[in-house]
Amino acid sequence: MSNSAPYTTIIGLEVHVQLMTRTKLFCGCSTKFGGAPNTQVCPTCLGLPGSLPVMNRQAFDLALRAALALECTIAPFTKWDRKNYFYPDLPKGYQISQFDLPFSSDGTLEVVDPKGAFEPRRVGIIRVHLEEDAGKSMHDEAAGTGDTRIDLNRAGTPLCEIVTQPDLRSPQEARAWLNELKLLLVYLGVSDCNMQEGSLRVDANVNLHIPQPDGRIAKTPIVEIKNMNSFRSVERALVYEAARQWEDWQATKAEMGKTPKQTRGWDDPAGITRAQRHKEESSDYRYFPEPDLVPVTVTAEQIASIRNGMGEPPVSLRKTLASKWTISPYDADVLVNQGRELVDYFEDLATRVGEGKVASNWMQQDVLRILNETNGTVAAFPIRPAGLADLIGRVMKGDFDTSRGREIFAEMVTSGRPVDEVVASMGISAVSDDDVIALCRELLAANPKIVADVKSGKEQAAAGLIGQAKKKNPNVNPGKVRATCIDLIRGMD
């Protein structure tokens, strides 16, 4: 929102992420995405009579990891509750979730825009809890009145629910914050956060605070937006919804508290939110303690051990990279936002090259360009840090100029071969310092006019020698030719 908007947009998010476990939260069925319907099910996740849940330790540990990274307070004692409601994708008729004693609460995650599009924003986390996912309902929209098909492969997949304070102030911030959250969770190995596969899902609560002439702040009714399938959709939906609420306010002056919270669904193709039917009874979930599970206690030692094994989160990694390799905060941000593997690649490269700034430039201008063009991952990138460092080292030494270096780089990407082989195959050979001096002497002898110009102080005249040098030996480094020629001319006195 620009500063001139007559209102402030107040946004809170509720995010569900699937945890990267091999098996479901309460049974040994696979959590793999994309299996044929109802092939990853057992008595427990089908909710068959007599079946019982047993908690997956890895799910709990991953959830703890997420909560710690979000700076949450970890409860020393936590338990699970049943959330009761009827739906065909919920075969037990209740979801095992956490109600009054979530395992963590009261955290924060900051989002900073390195280009300064918005002020750094610390977003409070109300709670993070661990629960099970429901199955999938599939509707044949065309058939209209036909049956709904239920696939329970997803039922029982571990989910972390992350609920923020209403601390976000614009759709753009919300999107940036979600990117930061996703980055964090992927860094920690908590979730793959793949929205297409449903492993990250977002609902948003939004309303407007509108200053009144009498100094009072009017608040529009809170709307929960669902069905947003990408972070871009979240931003678009929030932009739409803020504008809709502003119009609605101008027409009705309706304020919060007078109407129940409304749920609206985002219709992406239409670019609008639509009111969803309100079910009066649906809010009575009759939570009570899950008697088939026992409580979990967490000790300070456990927390310390998970913290130690967690790796550095993006927010501090950016600072570490910037200071360790003396690169700009912007460059550090770009590198970190690509994920842990790229950062590891960069640090390996920078160590070998010995100059963080140079390594960073090659990463940003060359490696990332190729990865973006090919939609590739750094893990599959054909040039490993050692090979790239070899190339960069030779360019730095002056064996090749930068544009020559780029040509070699491109060939290394295509062929997957090391510098020497590529250089040989391209007919390039490094030019020794003696060869450069010999070449320059030859050129100076043939170009007395340029020599005279340089002597009289017009150093830029030396540029005229470079084209000739390249013709004689395409492998020479132009900068080196220029510097050598000037030195030789000065030495003539």
């Binding site: 008595p43 089908l46 909710g47 068959l48 009579p49 007599g50 079946s51 019982l52 849940p53 047993v54 908690m55 049943r82 009761n84 009827f86 065909p88 075969p91 037990k92 008729g93 209740y94 709904t148 239920i150 329970l152 079910k279 809010s283 009575d284 009759r286 009570f288 008697p291 088939d292 599970l293 026992v294």
Partner: protein, 507 residues
């Protein structure tokens, strides 16, 4: 002695020694079932072919000198609340009529591994809710001691089949007294173990924090034998105790000398049948004669047990039974067919065909008592009532458990009646749900506290109905419960008596 008259301990020994084959033994009980089940209705399913095949296999393996399980060839009846892959599991409900689970309950698997022979699934109150077995969708069970009377419940079929010599052993489940009360009313021995001692996996849940599986047999020694097979840690049940299983049968010979037994004066309040009171007093006298000492103890909150239980159990049940909605298994109402319920809460129709399917499937599939408890539990958990009912009951539950823990500071066991009266007439209490709830007066405390209890016959009324005696013990004191009950049974012969009604039926 005919096989059907022998104890489980003796049958296992006779089978091992080759005095009798598994096929002979199984056939004897199957014939007995065939002859009497039409009258008693103790079984909902009898697996004659499966049982005989299994028995023949055991005989063959024994003949070949192959290793056999601890219960090899012993016929066992299973309450129809236990999941079995080879027989339907219905919980005596129309909702699950014909339902075949794709897995065996943990106790069923343990019994199979011990080479027990399953003869059939026993009748019960629907979803284990009831104290008379009259809530079965497949007809009531008759008490073998008086066919006009109820066997108690909810494990009424299990109790009646043992009392009627249709199986030497039956497995029951006990949420508020469902093993002990029918055992008492049918003159057999039934053990409700400590919560967590026997895995609940595959036991169709009624009230998860109260349910426990246990053996029902003719004697404490038989119960001890079965416990050695069915007790033990199950990693598939989070609430199963990871505690070693004692050799219960080896511990029976310990003398009772010095064992302190508590007597609760409040148990003798109004409502306790004088003949039952007399039987209970005589039981205390026998235990004293065996060397135990008897002391008065207080369970100050005992009278709150029934209201506490009838909040907690329905609340959990309302959630446990939500899965029976016609979507994935069980009964589904035909769209637009069947009885048109004209549901009043849906004056302008159901909000969707799905909600209609749910509401009508559940209305058709559940019987009246199950519906009552679902309604009560749903109400007590709903917004605005949770604190006053469910949370309140949980607080009182703590007081009740504390009473037990306090009492067990000064005594080793607590004795008393199982039920206030002997077996009541079929139909006597069916019109008054609340009166039926009160039959659990002496038994619900055990479940609320999570401790163990055993029920065994301690006499008969003048009219020939069994009187039950109950002992309760601290957590995991099953050895002492079994030892005391066994000692009592070495000194008395009440548990050897056979009902005339079915005794006259020639097998």
């Amino acid at each position: 002695m005919q096989p059907i008259e022998m104890s489980a301990v003796d049958l296992v020994a006779a089978l091992r020694q080759g005095d009798i084959t598994a096929v002979q033994c199984t056939t004897a009980f199957l014939d007995r079932i065939e002859a009497t089940n039409g009258t008693i209705n103790a079984f909902l399913a009898v697996d004659r072919d499966g049982a005989l095949t299994r028995a023949a296999d055991i005989d063959a393996r024994r003949k070949a000198g192959k290793p056999l399980g601890a219960l090899a060839g012993l016929p066992v009846a299973l309450k129809d609340v236990l999941c079995t892959t080879d027989m339907p599991t219905t919980c005596a409900s129309k909702m699950l009529q014909g339902f075949r689970p794709p897995y065996d309950a943990d106790v069923v698997a343990r019994l199979r591994n011990a080479d027990a022979v399953f003869v059939g699934k026993t009748n019960m109150d629907e979803f284990a809710m009831g104290g008379s077995n009259e809530n079965s969708a497949f007809g009531p069970v008759r008490n073998p001691w008086d066919l006009s009377r109820a066997p108690g419940g909810s494990s009424g079929g299990s109790a009646a089949c043992v009392a009627g010599d249709m199986a030497p052993v039956a497995i029951g489940s006990d949420t508020g007294g469902s093993i002990r009360q029918p055992a008492g009313l049918c003159g057999i021995t039934g053990l409700k173990p400590t919560y967590g001692r026997v895995s609940r996996r595959g036991l169709v849940a009624f009230a998860s924090s109260l349910d426990q599986i246990g053996p029902m047999a003719r004697s404490a020694a038989d119960c001890a034998l079965i416990m050695e097979t069915i007790a033990g840690h199950d990693p598939g049940d989070s609430t199963s105790l990871a505690v070693d299983v004692p050799r219960y049968t080896d511990l029976l010979d310990k003398p009772l000398a010095g064992v302190r037994i508590g007597r609760v004066p409040e148990h003798y309040a109004e409502g306790l049948d004088p003949e039952v009171a007399k039987g209970v007093d005589e039981a205390f006298a026998v235990l004293k004669a065996a060397g135990a000492t008897v002391h008065d103890v207080k369970l100050p909150h005992a009278k709150y047990g029934i209201p506490t239980y009838y909040l907690i159990a329905p609340c959990e049940a309302s959630s446990n039974l939500a899965r029976y909605d016609g979507a994935h298994y069980g009964h589904r109402a035909e769209p637009g067919k069947g009885h048109r319920a004209e549901p009043s809460q849906q004056a302008d129709g159901f909000e969707s065909p799905l909600v209609e399917m749910y509401c009508r499937s559940r209305a058709e599939g559940f019987g009246p008592e199950v519906k009552r408890r679902i309604m009560l539990g749903t109400y007590a958990l709903s917004a605005g009532y949770y604190d006053a009912y469910y949370a309140k009951a949980l607080r009182v539950r703590r007081l009740i458990r504390q009473d037990y823990l306090d009492a067990f500071q000064s005594v080793d066991l607590i004795g008393g009646p199982v039920s206030a009266t002997p077996a009541f007439k079929l139909g006597e209490k069916t019109d008054d749900p609340l009166a039926m709830y009160l039959v659990d007066l002496y038994t619900v405390g055990t479940n609320l506290a999570g401790v163990g209890g055993i029920s065994f016959p301690c006499g008969f009324t003048k009219s020939g109905l069994p009187i039950g005696f109950q002992l309760q013990a601290p957590p995991l004191a099953e050895p002492l419960l079994l030892q005391a009950a066994d000692r009592f049974q070495r000194l008395t012969d009440w548990h050897r008596r056979r009902p005339k009604t079915t005794g006259e039926v020639k097998a």
